[in-house]
Amino acid sequence: MTNVANAEPSSRRQDVVAALFQSGSFLTGMTLVLFWVVCALFGGHLVPYDPLTEDILNALGPPSARHWFGTDQLGRDILSRVIVGSRDLLIVAPLATILATAVGTVLGLFIGYFRGVIDDVVSRLIEAKMALPSVIVALLAIVALGTSETTVIIVIGLSFGPVIARTVRSAVLSERELDYVAAAKLRRENAIHIMFVEILPNILPPILVESSVRLGYAIFAVATLSFIGFGLQPPSPDWGLSIATNYSMISGGYWWTVLFDALAIASLVVGVNLTADGLHGALND
């Protein structure tokens, strides 16, 4: 497939790269995302304190020179926890998105290329699935299957797959009418070859944009599941989980136990969305 992608005129690719680097939203978004990726990869070496070490004597301390973001109810340093808190989320959400993209691409290629009864049936099923918010479908499945990171990845991946399949399907519908597909059919290429070698490289841009948007929603879903206790599990310093543990103390005035985690999630979400928006702009020009 690489050689097919390379066959694309290189000027087109340079245009896209140039457009990306001129796009304010892409650059801002990418900076935010890369910041959290660096924290996830190297955070363990950057943190001032061990994020899991408890220090009950200094529990619930407000932000100070020693603990910039304060300490939580077990005396753990919140700055350190926020820095490494991106790690599990940035493993689970992207893996779920990759799974969703793989499932959605294959499914979308098949129903878009073959049309007919399968397309009608699968499209109805996709519509039925879309009737429910992903978080609730995921919750139902996780309660049935048991909570673990693998379950969360599979459940979110499978629940986002149909959404991507819809995008892929509509892209395939317009591609399959083009001359190069007719030529491939005349050469008696088999359907698998036409779908994956001829059509797929041409619909990569919409797939890329759709997956980057889905990544934002995967972060949404994983963080939300962690918040309600069905995603990442203690002792992970995950942001959603930390907020769930600490939010009941808000009225007591311990705002620092939730504020920084909330801002961290917000910045990552904004980053992913700006990146997706930049990709969308650059690839659609």
Partner: protein
């Protein structure tokens, strides 16, 4: 138009059928013996068998499914495993609570979203447009508990303007209830704003670009009149459908918001049922949500076809 609506109705039933299958069979995965789980490890085997028989879980799957649906249609949602009382007793008051919260959120977000979309469209590709679009996009992907927490901190704790619990005192009047529901509604408003604004914007841009708008301008109507009489009417049609399709997302948000604000609605019912592995309750609630979504979508279709003569014409041909 009738054929259009009949087809839509058929779709809704197919959707609900698939959903009920999904919900039912996910319930079957839950490992273990239901009665044993309820009665505990020391219960007599005969008592376990008797309860399993009473609950009907020893019958073939398709019989169980048929019975479940048949009872559900008649308003009998079964018994909660945990409380051993009819599920409907919980669902009905919870639904009315959730509807109140949802109504507040919708009443705020629909005009706000349309306004945002219209402003963006009138300033298309200028900074105002970009800011509204990007803010809407980011807010839509922001988990409700994040915006909820930030709202509680800023408006509830620091400024002290709004109560941080949605539970109002007993016998509170409508205004007090509303006062308690503003803060919980904010995260829902933020999640929904982006979609509605985007649809309103797209509709506006299309309408502004159309021949009838050009005609209206060329025949000398004032700009304000063109916008109100010609552009808005046509532009807002697609937005109506979008508002209805957002019901599903709204209910997903209710799950989190009701937990965060300790509000006794369908979302917190789902949360508690999930925590307690009370599967009959969980299944009933999820199916109810599916029905609510189907009804909302159908109403939107009816409304849309009534407002849009083109749908009537096309379908009757």
């Amino acid at each position: 138009m009738n054929r259009f609506l009949a087809r839509r109705l058929a779709y809704s039933f197919v959707t609900l059928f698939v959903l009920s299958l999904l919900v039912f069979f996910l319930g079957q995965i839950l490992p273990g013996n239901v009665a044993r789980a309820i009665l505990g490890p020391f219960a007599d085997q005969q008592a376990v068998d008797a309860l399993n028989h009473q609950l009907g879980v020893d019958r073939p799957l398709f019989v169980q499914y048929g019975t479940w649906i048949w009872h559900f249609v008649q308003g009998d949602m079964g018994q909660s495993y945990i409380y051993r009382t009819p599920i409907a007793d919980f669902v009905v008051p919870a639904l009315s609570h959730s509807l109140k919260l949802a109504a507040v959120a919708f009443l705020v977000v629909v005009p706000l979203g349309i306004f945002g979309g219209v402003v963006a469209a009138l300033n298309v590709n200028r900074p105002t447009d970009r800011i509204i679009s990007l803010a809407g996009l980011s807010a839509a992907a922001m988990p409700e508990f994040v915006t909820g927490i930030l709202g509680i901190l800023v408006l509830g704790v620091w400024l002290g303007w709004l109560p941080i619990s949605a539970a109002w005192p007993d016998g509170a009047g409508a205004l007090t209830q509303l006062y308690h529901l503003i803060l919980p509604a904010i995260p829902l408003v933020l999640v929904l704003f982006g979609y509605i604004a985007r649809m309103a914007r797209a509709g506006m841009i299309e309408a502004l670009d159309s021949d009838y708008t050009r005609t209206a301008v060329l025949k000398g109507l004032r700009w304000r009149q063109v916008i109100w009489r010609h552009v808005l009417r046509n532009a807002l049609l697609p937005t109506i459908t979008v508002v209805a399709t957002q019901t599903g997302y709204l209910i997903g948000g209710l799950l989190v918001v009701e937990t965060l604000f300790r509000y006794q609605g369908i979302g917190s019912l789902i949360f508690n049922a999930a925590r307690a592995k009370d599967f009959p309750m969980l299944q009933a609630c999820v199916l109810i949500i599916g029905i609510a979504y189907a009804v909302a979508t159908l109403l939107a279709d009816v409304f849309y076809s009534l407002l849009n003569p083109r749908i009537r014409m096309e379908e009757s041909q």
